[in-house]
């Protein structure tokens, strides 16, 4: 197992290096001049040239590439180009924390509900309850989260006034409990979007376990259906769901731009988007790598969790 983890970590480092290289190449071949983007179309030619010289844009391809790699290795990413007083990491830290907070709340809401819904759907397979859950899940995950977000904001924010319809910096003065009022609607929008995926995975995994021979054995032993579920089905049904959730956690951190825009939430996706638009290359590069890193950690955790639950998966890990 330890050997496996070491291998995975080494593999992740290689992947990150490849990713950094690809990101660098992409920014290199971009037709627009980042210095021009940062300073604006009106800026005089000398200031653009001075900026290029200052940040090293005129250096050779390899010099710039090694600067990026060196920065990544030493965790010294330099300063943002757009907001030159900020170091890249300090600039990214707050939005990353904010988004993580939102993602965690969304997961706390959606995971238990959708796992339970999947279990119930599987238990009542092909009956009305199952059809209902599958349909709701499908509908919830096929509507883009910014549409549900907007709907939620209108209904629960503006009409019913249960929660705050948009985020405001006011929230940051409040305790976490107080912030919930601001975070609830964006988190719900995300939770709804993921409900469908997780519930469907859980349903499929549970059905496969319910149809298995060992569940038949357990039933024939005289176990009640609750005992069968908790002792024999859950462990076996969980693997695909865990995998899906880990992928979603990775996605939640960097891919929820729609919700962040709708609720005016100053999160990580917006920073990423802004950096891409503004040509703030150091921020963009680091942000992309950070989101990849989160994704990798989430999948590694999921694989380890699955291995812990299922000794056969453990065997595969050892063999691979």
């Amino acid at each position: 197992m330890a050997r496996y983890i070491v291998r995975r970590v080494l593999l992740s480092i290689v992947t990150l290096w490849l990713l950094a290289t690809i990101v660098f190449l992409m920014t290199w071949v971009l037709p627009s001049d980042p210095a021009r983007l940062i300073l604006g179309a009106q800026a005089p030619e000398q200031s653009v040239a001075a900026f290029r010289l200052r940040v090293g844009l005129d250096d050779s391809f390899f010099a710039q590439y090694f600067r990026l790699i060196k920065g990544l290795v030493t965790f010294d990413f330099g300063h943002s180009w757009k907001y030159e007083t900020y170091e890249v990491w300090d600039y990214l830290r707050t939005p990353l924390a904010k988004t993580s907070k939102l993602a965690i709340i969304a997961m706390i809401i959606t995971a238990p509900i959708s796992i339970l819904a999947g279990l119930i759907a599987a238990k009542f397979r092909d009956r009305k309850l199952d059809r209902g859950i599958v349909l709701v899940g499908l509908a919830a995950s096929s509507i883009p989260e910014f549409v549900t977000g907007a709907l939620l904001a209108v209904v629960f924010g503006l009409k019913l006034e249960w929660f705050e319809p948009v985020y405001s910096t006011e929230a940051e003065k409040l305790s976490l409990w107080g912030q919930l009022s601001y975070l609830m609607l964006p988190a719900l929008a995300l939770a709804l979007a993921y409900f469908g995926y997780i519930a469907r995975m859980m349903r499929a995994g549970t059905i496969r376990a319910l149809d298995s021979d060992y569940v038949r054995t357990a039933t024939m032993k005289g176990l009640s259906s609750t005992q069968v579920m908790s002792r024999h089905v859950l462990r076996n049904a969980a693997a695909p769901t865990i995998t899906v959730m880990s992928v979603q956690i990775g996605y939640l951190v960097s891919g929820i731009i729609g919700v962040e825009l709708v609720f005016n939430y100053p999160g990580f996706s917006r920073v990423l988007l802004d950096a891409a638009i503004d040509g703030d290359l150091p921020v963009l590069q680091v942000a992309v790598i950070v989101s990849a890193l989160i994704y990798m950690v989430a999948t590694l955790m999921a694989d380890l969790l699955i291995a812990w639950l299922n000794p056969r998966a453990r065997l595969e890990l050892g063999a691979s």
Partner: protein, 667 residues
């Protein structure tokens, strides 16, 4: 009701059971009635789809999700389980009846240790955790597991099939059941392991007094285990009686057909073709004719088509549902065969060793295997799982390249060890038929496409010529043109295997490796496939390497047999030599493990333990730790020589043949 019925362990009365398919009831069991007395063993036989497993599961009222009981009653130990509510049923399963399943590997939860699963069987009976743990250890000892503590700490995938089946049996006996249902408990196990598990069940039966309902497609197993048997066909019991009466004097044409389609002791393809049952079982849920067997019956008459056959009572407890029980004796027994003998021209000469590397260790899978194959000859390969049969087949086909020094000579020229380096001609010359045609044929192609592609790949024919060749192949294998446009999933198991055979024969092969080609098939279908293989061989002079764990089948089809153990050839000889005379102790044990169909008591030679890991082979003779005749001081130190007993018959053993003969005839 009466006192006698209430004492029966199982009493099934006019049971009707249907599967609901798209809202329509498809009857599966159509009035099944039989009973089992306490302590009695009852066997159900019949082809797949006849309803025997459905009946077995119904005895614990376990049905597929779409199953409904539409009539009749099931009484276990006097209680009508068809009338029970959910909790009563649970209590009933907990205390009164248990089941042992076909595949022990999937019957246990892969994510839980044996201890957890076995202890659970006792805690639900109300035992405390410690008490249940002690009971579990005792239960494992009862099923003759030598090291219960070690087994308790294992996960299912870490144990062998035989060991797992013991665990499942231990679990089933936890509640001291009145009724024990065994659904194909030894299918998929090696003959040696099968014999051990059956011995165990036999012993436990006399110990516990549980009534047994045994389902098996292997008639020898039923014969050796059961007091009474029921023969099922299309959801009905068509004949029932004492095992000896039914097997020795069958009185229903279907029973006769089943028994005759088996290669019986001493039968060989040279002497007679196997009897087959034409046609197939009626489609599930279809309307049945008056007599269920009318479409396949060789002694059918007008009365059969017009009247439902009454139950003809033959003796107490033996009945048949047939209008003409007196005429079954007239059914033709043997179909004379007209086959050419094997030639004497060597087609393939093999000298193969194969060592795998596994996490830094050498694992010798084949050690100095030296065999030859002549034209039109069938070489049978037998041995337990893990003996290297399939590895040898793969080495011959070039899937595994042999170690340096290995040589394969086909028709006087040396073959490249890897298939990727072999010429098209060499590939064409050697083909394979797999055990499971379902996974061997591309499910999304039509039969025609599958065959055409093989013909074109192997022979380089153009499309028109390939079409013609496919038509010829189909005719040879008795596939009708209608079948050519179907996909494999639309064909029955037997037809699928025919397609697989046609594929192998697409380019006139010199050698065909048959890897358990009939072990997934019913006996009547198996008979047809074996006949077909024999005929094709005789016509085309093809040589077969025939792998099977069914010694009866090997005896019927093979000209010569090689017995493998741990990657070595322990004995090789003609079929008559192997079955007729002095044997290697391993062969002797294998032969004695086969359950007899003729009911003759067999003196079984028990092998201690399981086949060792090839990664760590025993010293000296690799068989010595399990050999009942091992000579202390010699067998564990020195490798035995290969001794030629008679021309073409060689044994790898320290004991001289004369001495072996004396030991073996003493039995």
């Amino acid at each position: 009701m009466t006192i006698t019925t209430s004492t029966l362990a199982l009493d099934i009365k006019d049971l009707e059971l249907a599967y609901v398919v798209r809202g329509i009831n498809r009857p599966v069991l159509r009035g099944v009635s039989f009973s089992i007395k306490p302590g009695e063993a009852y066997g159900l036989v019949g082809e797949s789809g006849c309803g025997k497993s459905t009946t077995a599961y119904a005895a614990l009222r376990y049905m597929p999700r779409n199953g409904v009981i539409t009539g009749g009653h099931i009484l276990v130990d006097g209680d009508d389980i068809t009338a029970m509510n959910r909790n009563q049923l649970r209590e009933f399963r907990m205390h009164k009846a248990s089941m042992v399943y076909q595949d022990p590997g999937t019957a246990l939860n892969p994510t839980l240790k044996i201890s957890k699963q076995l202890v659970e069987a006792f805690t639900i009976l109300g035992q405390s955790r410690d008490h249940a743990h002690a009971s579990a250890i005792a239960a494992l000892q009862r099923v003759q597991i030598a090291d219960p503590d070690r087994v308790m700490g294992r996960y299912p995938h870490q144990l062998s099939g035989g060991m797992l089946q013991r665990v499942v049996i231990a679990m089933a006996l936890a509640c001291d059941p009145k009724l024990l249902v065994l659904d194909e408990p030894t299918t998929g196990l090696d003959a040696t392991v099968e014999a051990e598990v059956l011995d165990l069940v036999r012993n436990l039966r006399s110990e516990t007094g549980a009534a047994i309902l045994l389902i098996a497609h292997n008639l020898g197993v039923i014969r050796s285990m059961c007091d009474r048997v029921g023969v099922m066909y299309a959801g009905k019991i068509v004949e029932e009686g004492d095992a000896s009466e039914v097997f020795d004097g069958p009185k229903h044409p279907y029973t006769v057909g089943l028994l005759r389609s088996l290669p019986r002791r001493g039968m060989h393809k040279r002497h007679a073709a196997l009897a087959t049952i034409p046609g197939s079982l009626p489609v599930l849920g279809s309307d049945l004719p008056t007599c269920v067997y009318v479409d396949r019956c060789p002694i059918v008459s007008d009365v059969c088509r017009n009247e439902v056959p009454p139950i003809a009572q033959l003796s107490s407890g033996h009945y048949t549902r047939c209008h003409h029980p007196d005429q079954v004796a007239k059914i033709d027994d043997l179909v004379p065969a007209n086959l050419r003998d094997a030639g004497d021209q060597t087609v393939l000469q093999m000298e193969v060793s194969k060592t795998f590397r596994q996490s830094g260790h050498d694992v010798p899978a084949l050690v100095g295997v030296n065999l030859s194959l002549t034209d039109g000859e069938t070489l049978g390969l037998v041995g337990e799982s893990g003996s290297g049969k399939t590895t040898l087949a793969k080495a011959i086909l070039g899937v595994h390249a042999g170690d340096a020094g290995s040589r394969l000579t086909l028709d006087q020229h040396e073959l490249a060890s890897k298939i990727t380096k072999r010429s098209t001609d060499d590939k064409r010359a050697m083909q394979i038929i797999f055990q499971n045609p379902d996974s061997a044929l591309n499910a999304s192609w039509t039969v025609r496409n599958i065959l055409q592609r093989s013909v074109r790949k192997l022979t380089g024919k153009n499309k028109i010529d390939a079409d013609a060749r496919v038509a010829i192949l189909a005719e040879h294998l008795r596939l009708s043109p209608r079948h050519l446009d179907m996909k494999p999933s639309q064909l029955s198991g037997g037809l699928k295997q025919r397609v697989a055979i046609a594929r192998a024969f697409a380019g006139d092969p010199r050698i065909v490796v048959c890897d358990e080609p009939t072990s997934a098939l019913d006996v009547s279908v198996q008979a047809a496939i074996l006949n077909l293989l024999a005929e094709l061989q005789s016509e085309q002079r093809t040589s077969y390497v025939f792998i099977s764990h069914d010694l009866g089948v090997v005896r019927y089809l093979a000209d010569r047999i090689a017995v493998m153990y741990l990657g070595r050839i322990m004995e090789v000889g003609t079929t008559d030599q192997i079955f007729g005379g002095v044997n290697h102790p391993y062969t002797e044990a294998l032969l004695s493990a086969v359950p007899n169909l003729d009911g003759a008591p067999s003196r079984r030679i028990k092998l201690a333990g399981e086949i060792p890991s090839p990664a760590n082979p025993p010293s000296g003779c690799v068989f010595h730790p399990r050999c009942p005749r091992a000579i202390a001081g010699l067998c564990e130190t020195a490798e035995p020589p290969v001794v030629e007993v008679s021309v073409g018959h060689a044994i790898r053993c320290h004991i001289p043949p004369a001495e072996l003969r004396a030991l073996q005839s003493a039995n």
